[in-house]
Symmetry: C2
Subunit: 197 residues, 2 copies
Amino acid sequence: MPPAAAEPLTPERILETTEEVLRRFGPAKATVVDVARALGVSHGSVYRHFPSKAALREAVTERWLTKSVVVLEEIASAPGGTAPSKLESWLEALFEAKRRKAGADPELFATYTVLLAENSGVVDQHLSELIDQLARIIADGVAAGSLAAPDVPAAARAVFDATGRFHDPQYAADWLSPTIVTEFEAVTALVIRGLRA
Amino acid sequence: MPPAAAEPLTPERILETTEEVLRRFGPAKATVVDVARALGVSHGSVYRHFPSKAALREAVTERWLTKSVVVLEEIASAPGGTAPSKLESWLEALFEAKRRKAGADPELFATYTVLLAENSGVVDQHLSELIDQLARIIADGVAAGSLAAPDVPAAARAVFDATGRFHDPQYAADWLSPTIVTEFEAVTALVIRGLRA
DNA sequence: CGAGTGACAGATTTCAATATCTGTCACTCG
DNA sequence: CGAGTGACAGATATTGAAATCTGTCACTCG
């Protein structure tokens, strides 16, 4: 830890340090006292900004998920391209982002997997956003006549569910398999074919 | 335990008793000593028939999985019906069987979930069998002209992967949701539509 | 003989004591 | 005032000694 003394104690700074502590000690051993120590303050001060350890961990989780939505949002809202190819790009971007994170730093990924499991509320909201992006792509396709879906939100949900093996962190271990990309492509192709007009 | 004394000690009897002990004590507390006690023999005798505790638990797992394949096998091999409707029945039978088991006795289901996790080899073989049944249904459909699939085994695998949320025990908690059946139908419809000629 | 035994060594689990952590609050001090 | 403190009670986690379990094997006995 560099200086870190003169700065004012903001929620933002606490969140950054909490991430750092989680990264270093893992989800089981990271304590509020550790965070306070890393910040050079007493743990009572941390409780001025966050009502509980659970709330602090939830905020870290939310922050992390928010970052990961941005890239996908860009694909979903991009102007050109047909709906089927957009769908494919979006699903591939989701899969590749997860796979890269899981492969690059498995321990950190495991840490976040634990955080996700203990904050299902935040996760549910995040999943809604993702499914919403899918729904927008599908709705565009229906409007342009390239896709057919009697119930767009249900179709979006179905696409998301059907590709779960390639984005649900519970399957992270499978993402190391050499055949996983082939399997991803097969499922994606099947699903997109099922949506075509 | 009724008499249980005069009978000869067979692998079959050991497996039955192991199931019983697992049901009563759960996967964490069930010991080989417990099994031997329930059988009225010394634990050394159990080791005459199974080389290790792991092998014993694996055999129980295999036995359980074998039972669950039979029903589906019947659907897959039934003579009449079109491939798409057979596919739908098969997927529904798989889902409903799992859902019923998970709902009827959650603790026992959790016990088997633990056993499955520690015997991935046996599970992989079981999954291959299931995917094989799917492949046979799809191959029939392709032959009859009702389905289209350039690579039948890959398609079978894709169907299985896409419906994971409705058969993978990791999702058992979701099966209690009131919307799960609707979601299952949406994914099934999407997948079958994707396979239609 | 050969199915079954039970004592044994080393590995694993349990349990209770001890230490650490969470969350609160009356307090300090700029 | 009001951001930050640190001592405190109750909850949770850690630790190490004792108990139990796994797997082996020389032995018994029908």
